[in-house]
């Protein structure tokens, strides 16, 4: 084993609502080594959050259907019992959600909420040990420990997100999933939080899956990048590979970069991707991106998914490059 902490093999998730089937995640393969930071990039409906929730088995039971395997430290998370799963959640894998305003319970103090997680997973700790740990966690995320007796509404958005991070890291997890952790924050606060997360990640050696739509944050923070579209990973590789403009890329990746207003140079017009992101209930045949693709070819429009073309660790799922090789 190449010491992969997390290995996702051929993961698919379908939701059924009112008889409509949404294929939220389709045949996703991912792996993550210890201490690595993976950026999962995509737009609304690309399946980023569903993938993350599957890892924690937090999907709604009755409306979702999961296929594939998720190995975490050699254990298939999709087959273990709910009790074993509870031991994993919060202790080995923890998650930070997008909206810090609603993720904290307004009726408990910040300290109590951090203490709860610690007690769940370490029932033998004495109250003063728990209290010490809470202080330690707050200091770690840059909040004075005396503020632990305050309630969430007394904290600003950035501070609340710090508290969420403290809760997530309280049990020293091996894997942290951060779902758009800074989207709700102001730029200057975002910069503070990202800097803090990066330092903590280095210090604690935690692996991180960072879900975001912001390529800037990815460039700042991640080692590996996976770009999702229509529930599939269309391109993945190291940060340098995916962000290197001289390399071949999936047309969607090119489109994403073209859509970004660039502050380092002045351009008069952006080059957006035409069309709209498809709803997971009506994904097109063939390559999911073909209706919006400027380089669409006949073979993209039907049949199976395009082949994955790998150049070392850099994988692109597109007919364009398969053809060149042949």
């Amino acid at each position: 084993m190449s010491e992969n902490l997390l290995e996702i093999k051929d993961l698919s998730v379908r939701y059924t609502t009112d008889g409509v089937i949404s294929r939220a995640v389709n045949h996703v393969n991912l792996s993550l080594k210890k201490g690595e930071v993976l950026g999962l990039v995509g737009e609304t409906g690309a399946g980023k959050t569903t993938t993350a929730l599957t890892l924690l088995r937090l999907l709604p039971k009755f409306t979702s259907e999961v296929e594939g395997e998720v190995f975490f430290e050699g254990q298939n998370l999709l087959t273990i019992s709910e009790k074993e799963m509870r031991a994993v959640r919060g202790d080995k894998i923890s998650m930070i959600f997008q909206d810090p305003m609603t993720s904290l319970n307004p009726v408990y103090t910040v300290g109590e909420q951090i203490g709860d997680v610690i007690r769940f997973h370490n029932p033998d700790l004495k109250p003063n040990e728990v209290s010490d740990r809470i202080d330690e966690m707050l200091k770690l995320v840059g909040i004075p420990p005396q503020r632990k007796v305050e309630y969430p509404h007394q904290f600003s958005g950035g501070m609340k997100q710090r508290v969420m991070i403290a809760i997530a890291l309280a049990c020293n997890p091996d894997l942290l999933i951060a779902d758009e952790p800074t989207t709700a924050l102001d730029v200057t606060i975002q910069a503070q939080v990202i800097k803090m997360m990066r330092n903590l990640q280095k210090e604690m050696g935690t692996s991180v899956i960072l879900i975001t739509h912001d390529l800037g944050i990815v460039a700042n923070f991640c080692d590996k990048v996976a770009i999702m579209y229509g529930g599939e990973i269309v391109e993945s590789g190291t940060l340098e590979e995916v962000f290197d403009k001289s390399k071949n890329h999936h047309p969607y990746t090119n489109g994403l970069f073209g859509s970004l207003p660039n502050i380092t140079e002045r351009t008069s017009r952006l080059t957006p991707i035409m069309g709209l992101t498809p709803h997971p209930s009506e994904l097109p045949e063939g390559c999911k991106f073909h209706p919006r693709c400027p380089q669409c070819m006949e073979q993209c429009k039907s049949g199976e998914n395009p082949p994955k073309v790998a150049d070392g660790g850099h994988e692109i799922q597109c007919h364009l490059y398969a053809k060149k090789e042949a």
Binding site: G45, H279, S281
Partner: protein, 299 residues
């Protein structure tokens, strides 16, 4: 989120969606049938049985048990009361009285409360303050007591009862509708209409009311059943409608002294009242469920 259904050139009515969703719930279908029967009885009461039958008294045929044939050879399916009136006819015409009381009082109070609540939400300031303080004062006294006092002051009769029930149900309605109207009034689309130069009256009519419809309908349905029960309660203690008018509450009170000899005189109006309230309430609950996905997604 981006549900790009096949676009239509025809407007699909949101009412139809609600209706469809209702038809998919068994409880709702049963409640709808119940309400339809009451409505049918109320509307076609005169066709089914002439009103005169419901109030015709006869000493010779009093206290006949259900399903007995009287000396004139007429079958009384639900029997007769202590004055010899046919109970089935009285139940049918009682449905009309109940509907008159329940529906009309609710309609009046809904119209008034919606106008007042929208004024509170749109104009705010002292208008809101004055209206809400009056509402506070009225709601200090329980609705039933308000209705009792008004009925006692104005005397018996359907119009008096309507006034009493309308006034007693107003405060709650105003509070409920206002709370939703306040959130709707803060929406960007209301501000956008202001930016276009729309006047407050226009915004109330075109933006507030349509978006309040779900709340109004749900509360209104519940109110119909509450008002029927209150009307019956007032009738039961002798404050409701005038004497010969067939009314379920009065019928119940009339049967009370014959509980031992003729149980059916209590059981029948009681049961009818119960079933009517149950089906209307169930319909209200189902309406709430049917509206709910919309309330969550859009309001």
């Amino acid at each position: 989120m981006s549900k790009s259904k096949a676009p239509r050139l025809k407007k699909n009515s949101q009412a139809a969606e609600i209706w469809n969703s209702l038809l998919h719930r068994p409880a709702a279908v049963i409640a709808l049938i119940g309400c339809a029967i009451i409505l049918f009885l109320a509307i076609f009461a005169d066709v089914l049985v002439p009103y005169s039958v419901a109030i015709r008294q006869s000493g010779k045929i009093k206290l006949l048990a259900p399903m007995t044939t009287d000396i004139y050879g007429k079958l009384h399916v639900l029997g007769t009361d202590d004055l010899g009136r046919d109970l089935l006819a009285r139940v049918i015409h009682g449905a009309r009285t109940a509907m008159e009381i329940g529906v009309i009082s609710t309609l009046i109070s809904i119209v008034i409360s919606t106008i007042l609540a929208c004024m509170c939400a749109m104009l705010g300031g002292w208008v809101d303050n004055v209206i809400m303080r009056i509402v506070d004062v009225v709601s200090c006294v329980p609705g039933m007591v308000v209705a009792l006092a008004i009925c006692a002051a104005l005397g018996n009769g359907i119009p008096q009862l309507l006034v009493a029930l309308t006034i007693s149900s107003l405060p709650m309605h105003i509070k409920m509708v206002r709370s939703v109207a306040l959130t709707v009034a803060k929406k960007d689309y209301v501000e956008s209409a202001v930016a276009l130069g729309a006047k407050p009256g226009y915004i109330m009519l075109k933006h507030l009311v349509p978006n309040l419809m779900s709340v109004i309908l749900i509360n209104g349905t519940a109110q119909v059943s509450i008002n029927i029960m209150q009307g019956a309660t007032l009738g039961f203690i002798g404050l409701g409608v005038k004497a010969p008018t067939p009314e379920w509450g009065t019928m119940l009170a009339g049967g009370l002294s014959f509980t031992l000899r003729a149980q059916y005189m209590v059981v029948i109006p009681g049961l009818v009242l119960c079933l009517a309230a149950l089906s209307i309430n169930t319909l209200g609950d189902c309406l709430r469920d049917a509206f709910d996905p919309q309330l969550k997604g859009k309001a």
